[in-house]
């Protein structure tokens, strides 16, 4: 992987998958960082989408149990990825 690029695979555990509230949180958090942040639904082999856009995140059609790959590239990529992973760790309880 290129320097300054980090990625993580996240399995959706919430019964509603990537539901609206989590999607909102992803967009709001992603927009705090300058890094380019993308997401892909590996389970559906979806296109790679911009995680700063709710419209694009909706294209992932992510359901419970689906695996998402979130990637961040840029100076604050590490912080961005950490913040986004935290959303998914907390989402089953929302």
């Amino acid at each position: 992987m290129e320097q300054g690029v980090v990625a993580a695979s996240i399995t959706l555990t919430h019964p509603h998958g990537l539901h609206l509230r989590v999607g909102r949180d992803v967009v709001l958090v992603a927009n705090r960082f300058s890094a380019e942040i993308t997401a892909q639904n590996l389970t559906r082999a979806s296109p790679v989408v911009d995680a700063k856009s709710l419209v694009q995140l909706m294209q992932l059609q992510a359901r419970p149990g689906h695996v998402l790959r979130v990637q961040a590239a840029g100076p604050d990529a590490q912080d961005a990825l950490r913040a986004l992973c935290q959303i998914f760790e907390e989402s089953p309880h929302q």
Binding site: L20, R24, V27, L28, V55, Q59, Q61, R63
Partner: protein, 141 residues
């Protein structure tokens, strides 16, 4: 940070208020957001329909110099929105835009984009892109 206002327009007061309620949940901070729906029946209630004069009042009350995006349901809601804009003072008209977005999905996305401080054009583009969201997957992964 600049901020636009959203006006939800529906033939039904309940629909307008429900959409506004849902959209408001999407914003990271409260945004200027108003629901205008139905026609006052003079007895404290509302009948189905749209009221351009009520829209004018709502736009003026929630005016944002960065712009006002109107999201409407169908048919005459758009006509009422057009009439309302035409009734505004000339200097306010260029900052008002009627979205081609689907009402619910568009409002949800617009509220999120507006709360990020995005411009009127950018918010509207995101809202209108909602028309192309595929809700039901064709096949399960």
């Amino acid at each position: 940070m600049g901020r636009i206002a959203l006006v939800i327009v529906s033939h039904s007061r309940q629909i307008a208020e429900g959409v506004a309620e849902l959209a408001a949940q999407m914003a990271q901070d409260p945004i200027p957001l108003v629901a205008v729906g139905g026609i006052a029946d003079g007895h404290g209630g509302y009948t189905l329909g749209t009221d351009a004069h009520a829209l004018v009042a709502a736009i003026c009350r929630h005016w944002q110099p960065d712009g006002v995006l109107l999201l409407a349901d169908v048919g005459s809601a758009v006509i009422s929105a057009e009439t309302a804009i035409a009734l505004l003072p000339p200097e306010m008209q260029p900052a008002c835009l009627i979205s081609n977005a689907p009402l619910v999905e568009g409002a949800v996305i617009a509220a999120l984009e507006a709360s990020l401080g995005h411009s009127l054009g950018r918010v509207n583009a995101a809202a209108e892109a909602a028309a192309f969201i595929v809700k039901c997957p064709q096949s399960e992964g």
